[in-house]
Amino acid sequence: MIKSNSGIRKTDVINRRMFIIGAAKVVVFVGIVARLFSLQINENKKYLTLSDKNRIREWKLPPTRGNIVDYFGNVIAGNLKVYQLHIIPEQVENFNYLLVRLKNLLDLSDKRIARINKLKSELKPWDSIIVSENLSWSQFVKINNYLYDLVGVKPVMTISRNYPFNDVYTHVLGYVSQPNEKEILENETIQERFVPGMKIGKLGLEKRLENHLIGTNAIQRYEVNAYGKRINQLEHQKGEQGSKIRLTVDTEIQKACGELLNQKAGSISVMDIYTGDIIAMYSSPSYNPNLFLFGISQDEWQLIRNNPLKPLINKTLSGLYSPGSTIKPIVALSALENKVIDTKFKVKCTGKMELYGQTFHCWKEKGHGWVSLKNAMKQSCDTYFYEVARLLGVDRLNITAEKFGLGKKVLGDYFDNEKKGLFPNTAWKKNNLGKGWVLGETLITGIGQGYIQSTPLQLCMMTAQIANGGFAVKPKIIVDSNPISYEDAKQSMESGLLFDTDSEELLDKKLFKNQKNIKIVQEAMFASTNERFGTSYKSRIDDPKYQFAGKTGTAQVKRISKRERELDLELEQIPYKDRDHALYVAYGPYVNPRYALSIIVEHGGSGSKAAAPIAKKLFKLIIDRHDLRNKQSNFERITI
């Protein structure tokens, strides 16, 4: 057998075939090395990135909102350090014991405890649960004292929105609160920067300027394991605070407006007649926006919601009122411009006017006798304006009124709750009500009643444009990057051209055909406030520094029946809901005017008694602050 043929042949076969296998092995190993080379050398970068993507996770922290400041740089929407309490479940030894301890220390409600337990079951054990969003300092201290006994509890300091002036700016600024799903989906910036606990603007400028105010997230990079647990922190990238925004408003005046309208429903707007800067814009009553930051309680919410004076409505922008007699300057101007009347034109007021069997009453039952434009405006004679409106016609009146900003939004798209109001004409009635215009409707439009509806801010702008000599202003509440100074605005206006900072063009903003007519109306308004028998004569200021011109208005909220007219009830005898709205528009100082305002006191009775006295108190303050304001005009440039 040894070295037999068969054995040798077999050995040969085995060796030969082994050689083939050996060659195959080399090929395969080379293949594997090639694969290793391709993964580790050629595609190394790609896989390194993927590996980093695996192990590094970013945690976004809520961004810090930009401050909003008033014209003088006072922070009116800022940020405040708040103390929060977090629990990290995986670090807690005895969860129930901890909850009992916290319940005692912080007076947590059973509902809150249940919520924490629910969160615990939903979140990963290393995700922190927010027990309290806003601890008081004493609570924070208490927790820190007992920290040794509260394993797994983490007191955290974070930043929250804060409105230092509480309710003063609510209707201008709005407020911030937790976003709902829809709000996150609608705004890409919010979607990108959203983190739980972040708050967004819900209303007002906070909402409108969200993308400027929001700021960027601070980012913390952690190394995490396959289950998402943080192993260690790699780096911290600071976020940028949102843009600072400077408003044109003056907190002192805004505050004064709030005090003047205390306990009343109404609105005050103050505007620079040349630059269009809104100095104050207050809607009363207001509410405290700080209540919404950490979720308003049901009780507080019901209190605001059910207040009969309707604090939730921004009356300055969305309150629609009949302008009443405050429209008369526009009616007079329109008639003068259309040469329907002149200063010598007179009407005899007998206390009422008959037209097609309908009686139109003047507010003064006995009548004013023969009145000219000046006297009619001064005493607010309705009969005169019935007659003027009749001669003028509603369509011509409408053209003038719309020129002066009635029936159009004043601040454009800055506030989504702004209403545009209505100034009717014959075409409007045909298109919207399907009926022909009736002459009687022209008459009542002439005294600011009927279909006509305007917002307090529209009336303010209307007055401003009369006050500045009949030039269009562009109202604004945000100081833009290139603020035009008061003098420049005035100068360019008086040269008949207005520099538009948006389009950077000089535009012809003349609203009149003959500036004399504006002067006539101004004089009539002056008389109304500063001459005997003027409707707001009692509210005048004789010092020329503060002297102002204005026009009262009393808007009926319901038709006055014959019986009521005869009764001539005192204000207190009429149910609140049926009382007239008191209005007043004014500008001052009369020589070199600077500011215009409009005041509305809902159900306040007559304009001369309820609204004009407010203007007297306000004008002193407004004009006293003028020099200060002038000095501030260019102190800071902010681009938005």
């Binding site: 077999k10 296998i21 080379f37 050398i41 190394n44 192990r55």
Partner: protein, 374 residues
């Protein structure tokens, strides 16, 4: 040095130790040492369960290898069939009384450790077939009877292993068996025919696969179809290896591994961890170490006088090669995922036991390379 007619069982212990193959021995020691370090890394840089156990197994099985080597190759030749039969019996035992774990029944409890007989079969089938082809006349290799016998030898254990179920080990057993058939002189056309038949019947075979096995094939073809599910392992493995780069991330610094992104890092995916931490250079180094081992085994086969020793060495060298190739191809995304450990490196007692026994027999063949077996 040795006389022709001297029988190896007459060697003194000293002579036996002296004639061990030291290159192979040193390579195995190096590999073992390396495997302990890698295991230490899988434990996150601490001496924990896996490191300890792996070390203990090495400490037991390495002397066992030497012990096996000291038996004459003739002894292993004589007991080949019996060993094969014993392992078959163990497989039968396991299929009735085995321990179940994650859906398959592969293990038997030996109190000291849990044995997986299918791993032993990887070596036993080589022994059995080597003996068969050693004894059969070359003229009869392609006879109907012998083909029937050798195919039965291969198919019987595979039936048991595949029913456990354990596709990976069955494939490795089948390949280990087939290589002996090839080396033993079976006609090449048979291999070609059966390969063609295999290709044709592949769709039918696939239809018989278990759903999870089908899923593995689908995942192999497109790992991104379910990146967090079935494709997760292979994607993470490729990321780990690819991110290792030329030099690797450094010992104990494999982020994929210590942050738990790597699945099965102790066993089938041990190479992934190694490659992440030691990079391309380390991986090629490891392949070179394995190549040296394989080359040494082949070399011992070539100097062996008996065809049994020769067939066993060649067969075993090929088996080691196949284990490495299947494992590496799997973790590199070249093959679908089939459970197959990397010899010595992977955690797992039975696999290490079988590998060490195999090395032992190879060393015995070296000591007794002049031994003639009738």
């Amino acid at each position: 040095m040795f006389q022709h007619d001297r029988l190896s069982n007459e060697f003194t212990l000293f002579q036996k130790i002296k004639s061990l193959d030291y290159i192979l021995l040193i390579s195995v020691i190096l590999l073992s040492a390396l495997s302990v370090f890698v295991m230490y890394s899988t434990d996150g840089g601490e001496i924990l369960f896996h490191t300890k156990n792996h070390f203990v197994k090495l400490a037991v099985f390495f002397p066992l290898m030497i012990f096996v080597a000291f038996f004459n190759i003739k002894f292993w030749h004589n007991f080949s069939y019996i060993i094969y039969l014993i392992v078959i019996l163990l497989l039968i035992y396991v299929s009735f009384f085995g321990i179940k774990s994650s859906g398959s029944q592969r293990w038997m409890d030996l109190y000291l450790f849990v044995l997986q007989p299918s791993e032993l079969m990887k070596v036993a089938i080589i022994m059995c077939l080597a003996k068969y082809f050693h004894r059969i006349k070359i003229e009869n290799v392609n006879s109907f009877t012998s083909i029937t016998i050798v195919l039965s030898i291969i198919i019987i254990p595979i039936i048991f292993v595949i029913s456990q179920p354990d596709l990976g080990t069955s494939i490795l057993i089948a390949l280990s068996g087939l290589i002996i058939l090839w080396l033993g002189g079976m006609k090449i056309k048979y291999f070609i025919y059966s390969f063609i038949t295999f290709l044709i019947s592949l769709p039918f075979i696939i239809s018989f696969l278990k759903p999870y096995q089908k899923l593995r094939i689908l995942t192999f073809l497109d790992p991104d179809r379910d990146p967090l599910g079935a494709g997760y392992q292979i994607i993470q493995s490729k990321i780990a290896i690819g991110s290792g780069g030329l030099n690797g991330k450094g010992f104990l610094k494999g982020t994929q591994s210590y942050l738990d992104f790597l699945p099965e890092k102790h066993t089938d995916f041990i190479f992934t961890l190694f490659s992440e931490e030691f990079g391309f250079i380390g991986s090629v180094g490891l392949l070179i170490l394995y190549s040296i081992i394989i080359f040494r085994i082949v070399r011992i086969g070539t100097i062996s006088r008996s065809n049994f020793a020769r067939l066993f060495c060649f067969g075993y060298a090929f088996a080691i090669f196949i284990y490495i190739v299947v494992n590496l191809s799997m973790v590199l995304g070249l093959l679908p995922i089939v459970g197959s450990p990397l010899p010595i490196m992977s955690y797992g007692g039975s696999s290490m036991l079988a590998t060490m026994i195999g090395f032992g027999i190879v060393l015995s063949a070296k000591i007794n390379h002049k031994q003639i077996i009738a």
